[in-house]
């Protein structure tokens, strides 16, 4: 009973924060207009996902495979729609791709989980994304389009789970893979990550890592409810417009389940990305990935750092693999950070077109 009351109180508090954020920042708000048809296919263990369909633009060339875009850690599919006409999703539509934006389990659009009790709680781990959510998303898209294969584009963890699905579970319905800031082998943890690891004991009492409420509080009040050290891990502030930063916090910040947090922190501690039970070494199995892969990395990326992207590149079994390093010495406007690769000031001119060009060069191959 106490936990039920606690759950209700926490949910009420979060709702109040969102309401406060919406009220206080209504004038400065930047709504997102890009919207597609929504579906909520269910996984085999009963979790509803969200797939948002953005069909190809009229008059654009027809492409052979639908494209699934999968968000990363702490985020949801809205990431791909920020910047509106400059977004990767919009650029893919314009280039003729049938685009499907995926929300993995636990995201609000399919019904937020409960904190402690209820049909669904924050009880899942990254293994569940790999084993069930990716499978359900691909099945749904293939069923709706009649295609035999998909192209998978994943940012951060969204790319890591595709590596794991293909390399460790034998997934053969992904024909082309683009990973953006996705480490296959985890980088050596810096001070901020080690501090997070040292606090992971708190997960024993917390129902969830409450990222979203604090992000919303920051938007509502302007106060540093999300520590700058954490922001520095996620993007390079000099390369993200303030209104995009606000949209990221307002629209995409997502709570972190304990299972996700533990699996991630363990990976950052050990360097290898393994299943929760330790039975599957996803990093080691990168050698089993043999589809064409484009890896996109940013010089300032602290989560998919260049050394870990090099390690992934070298371990991949693919003969056709390309690594793009977004850094100033290669002519980019900035040394890109983790999130900048998607929503950086000039990502629509420097990053997205290279992804679309790579896909076009591989279309039908």
């Amino acid at each position: 009973m106490k936990r039920l009351v606690s759950d209700a109180l926490l949910r009420g508090l979060h709702a109040a924060i969102i309401l406060l954020a919406l009220t206080l920042t209504a004038c400065a708000s930047h709504p997102i207009h890009l919207a597609g048809e929504i579906a909520h296919p269910k996984t085999d263990d009963g979790w509803p996902l969200t797939l948002e369909h953005l069909p190809p633009a009229d008059g654009a060339p027809r492409r052979s495979e639908p494209v699934i875009l999968c968000h990363g850690f702490l985020a949801n599919r809205t990431y791909f729609k920020l910047n509106e006409e400059h977004s990767l999703a919009a650029m893919l539509q314009a280039a003729g791709y049938d685009v499907w934006l995926l929300d993995l389990r636990g995201r609000d659009a399919a019904g937020a989980p409960s904190y402690y009790f209820g049909e669904r709680t924050y009880s899942y781990a990254i293994d569940d994304f790999i084993k069930r959510d990716v499978d359900t998303a691909i099945s749904h898209v293939l069923k709706m389009t009649g295609a035999k294969h998909v192209t998978w584009i994943g940012h951060s963890m969204g790319g890591m789970i595709a590596y794991a699905r293909i390399g460790s579970l034998g997934e053969d319905r992904i024909a082309h893979l683009v990973t953006i800031g996705s480490p296959g082998v985890l980088p050596h943890a810096g001070r901020t990550l080690l501090q997070m690891y040292s606090m992971s004991g708190g997960l024993a009492v917390l129902a969830v890592v409450p990222v979203a409420p604090f992000a919303h509080l920051k938007v509502a009040t302007g106060l540093p409810f999300t520590p700058q050290a954490l922001i520095d891990m996620l993007w390079y502030p000099g390369n993200v417009e303030p209104e995009i930063e606000e949209q990221v916090l307002r629209h995409t910040a997502t709570n972190l389940s304990k299972g996700e947090a533990r699996q991630f922190l363990r990976a950052f501690q050990d360097g290898e990305f393994v299943s929760k039970d330790g039975e599957i070494d996803y990093s080691k199995n990168l050698v089993n990935v043999r589809v064409p892969v484009l890896l996109v990395a940013g010089r300032r990326d602290n989560l998919g750092d260049p050394a870990s992207i090099r390690a992934a590149y070298e371990r991949l079994g693919s003969e056709d693999k390309t690594l793009i390093m977004a850094e100033r010495s290669r002519g980019y406007s900035e040394d890109y950070g983790h999130t900048d690769l998607l929503v950086g000031k000039r990502a629509h001119r420097e990053i997205h077109p290279r992804i679309v060009a790579w896909l076009a060069a591989h279309d039908g191959r």
Binding site: H188, M233, D305
Partner: protein, 302 residues
Amino acid sequence: MAALLTAGCSGASSAVPKDARAVVGELPGPASTLFFPARWRPPRPRPPLVLVGPELLDARVLYDHEGALVPFLIDRGYPVLLVNAARGPFPDEFGSAGLVRLVEQMHERTGAKEIVVGGVGPGGRHALGLVDALERHRDGAPPVRVSKLFFLGTGLDYAYPDPFFARLDAEGLKGPDLRAQCKDPARRAVCKRMFRSSVRSSGYMDLLRFRAPTAPAPDLRFVADLLVPALFIVGKTDNVSPAESVVPVYRAYGTTARDVPKRYFIAGLENQLSQDYDELSLLLDISAESEVYPIIGAWLDG
């Protein structure tokens, strides 16, 4: 720093700092040495520190300005023997032969049985060869033990896709003297892009010196057998000696014995420093003295 840059503009490189007391040893080819005695004698004397490099930049970035690395080290009690590329890039075999002869001469003159070795910038990679030679007693290496090893902004494995030096080649910067080439107006834009830095100075081009001879990627598997405790510091935005050129060596280092102390440190925001450091700012930014060099100091003293 202004004096350093002015001297760099004039092309002079012979200004010897007042701390540097003597030139020691005979070295092959283009290298020279400067010796900086310790400014402080701790109760337990520090071993001499052989500092290798840089090659890409004028060696004065290490001692000729406030907050430089060499003054930091001699203030902590380490006598520093700086080996630098004075007249051209180090020859490929430098680490295994030339440096060994230098340590041998030092051993004969001073009787030193223990040294610390440091590498700075891409030229610092030769420190690996020196440590390997001393540990295996090859190339006639004297009985001198290396107690600690560190690297600061030193790229070690350039076999990553489209590496820095291959891009220099592709941009037409193929000769050994980078400064002369970057003075060519036709190449200035390329040089500015390849050697960008957060250090607010137009002096980077004038500080450039030599690039390593283009050679096949060396076989670095020997690092697994090394036993000397080693620290690897990388600037987060260093595109000359980037993280991907260091981490494979760091991961492999000392793995045969399994318990060799080693540390990898990214100089950047992810370690809550004030900035993401690059190749030049690791050596010239005033904040390096308070944020980065203490990591080296703690490693050497620990």
